[in-house]
């Protein structure tokens, strides 16, 4: 069976390499209020990994020094870090566009009180998980009551101007298939989300469709259901060379909670840091070198190149 590397070589005539570093993605910890069945990092309330203030400051120094245009903050649930405001404000002060990836429901937790207003004041782009528009499907994957809670938070964000034309406050949503299947056409799903959420009084900017990554808790499910082989065969069959240019790993560097550098958040789950020829810690961040790096790949990379891609 051909490896991902060999498949890419055949399509590109060479290995997969970075195209630049325009996004610094910071995974500030694996603690989360939810335990989603599709989580590639197996995040949950029991996870203790959190980014320290020192590591955040190293990341902010890198953003300032090298003028990184975008800081993309993820987790776990980043809102459960007591240092999130410090990080967001620091990145904005450095002139970066800031994205926070939210599971929505966490914004109802006491620890997140006032955060939506803080996001608005800082002009943060919110990328929110809403894996389906059928409530029962969302609750099955993320836990009972999650869908209604998510809708209430979306209404609150809309109330602050998020997702509304002319406010500049961007609210994007993320769809994940409710099982070991690939997403349908993005436009069709986006139209459906727009129609069904409008009926709930909710608006948003764009919908991103992400295939479920065969790592972490989702991989455990695939192994348990004896579906790993057929899922991997499915994504392998759906390999689309047109996705290679836009792969997120070619445009960003992902920083783990402890400062280790990765090609993407998925490689964190497999503990595959950036190639050894590059400095591998945020304290030694070298965007010039990283912009020329060879991307470290594995079998799981076929998920990102399946169909329309998961860029």
């Amino acid at each position: 069976m051909r490896s991902f590397d060999d498949t890419v070589r055949e399509a590109l005539g060479g290995p997969l390499t970075a195209a630049g570093v325009v996004i610094l993605q910071l995974n500030i910890g694996y603690v989360c209020n939810l335990r989603c069945k599709h989580c590639h990092l197996s995040a949950g309330p029991e996870r203790g990994e959190r980014m320290s203030l020192e590591t955040m400051d190293e990341a902010l120094r890198a953003v300032r020094r090298h003028g990184i245009p975008t800081v993309d903050i993820t987790g776990g649930a980043p809102e459960l870090s007591p240092r999130l405001r410090h990080l967001v404000a620091g990145a904005r002060a450095a002139g970066a566009h800031v994205i926070v990836r939210s599971n929505l429901t966490v914004l109802l937790e006491p620890a997140a009180a006032g955060l939506p207003e803080f996001y608005r004041d800082q002009g943060v782009e919110v990328v929110a998980s809403l894996p389906h528009v059928v409530g029962a499907s969302v609750d099955r994957v993320r836990g009972g009551g999650t869908f209604e809670k998510s809708l209430s938070v979306l209404r609150r964000l809309n109330g602050l101007g998020y997702g509304k034309k002319g406010t500049g406050l961007v609210l994007n949503l993320v769809y994940n298939p409710p099982g070991a299947i690939l997403p349908g056409p993005q436009k069709e799903l986006e139209d459906r989300y727009r129609r069904e959420l409008a009926a709930q009084g909710i608006v948003f900017d764009r919908l991103f469709t992400f295939a479920n990554m065969a790592l972490g808790r989702f991989r455990e499910f695939l192994v348990r259901s004896r579906g790993l082989e057929s899922y991997l065969a499915q994504v392998r069959r759906a390999f689309n060379p047109a996705t290679l240019d836009g792969l997120m790993c070619r445009h960003l560097v992902s920083v783990r909670w402890d400062g280790t550098l990765f090609d993407c958040d998925f490689n964190q789950a497999t503990d595959l840091p950036v190639e050894a020829a590059c400095p591998r810690h945020i304290s030694a961040f070298d965007p010039g070198r990283l912009a020329r790096r060879r991307i470290v790949t594995g079998e799981h990379c076929f998920v990102c190149t399946a169909g329309a891609g998961t860029g």
Binding site: A136, P177, P178, G179, I181
Partner: protein
Amino acid sequence: MADYYNSDDLERFGEVGKYKPELFRKFMEWYQASLEDGALTKREKALIGLGVAHAIQCPYCIDAFTRECVAEGMDMEHITEAVHTASAVRGGAALIHGLQAGNTAEKILL
């Protein structure tokens, strides 16, 4: 059965069009159009597809429409109810033929 039904063949459906591509193209156009949102939603059509797939006992269709139902946000409860509906119709169809047997028997039974 394994020799007759191979799950990988579902992905090879397009090969049926090898010798009569125009006929296959017409079929696919019609097939796809018939499953689009209309007076019935895609979700309702996925359930009808699943029911019919069971009634005609086509393993490829069962595989494809189960995936379609999952993509539409349905779970085992929906899927099981659809299978029961299809089975009930099939069962009813067999049972009503009891009248046929009765009609014949009444003519010949002493």
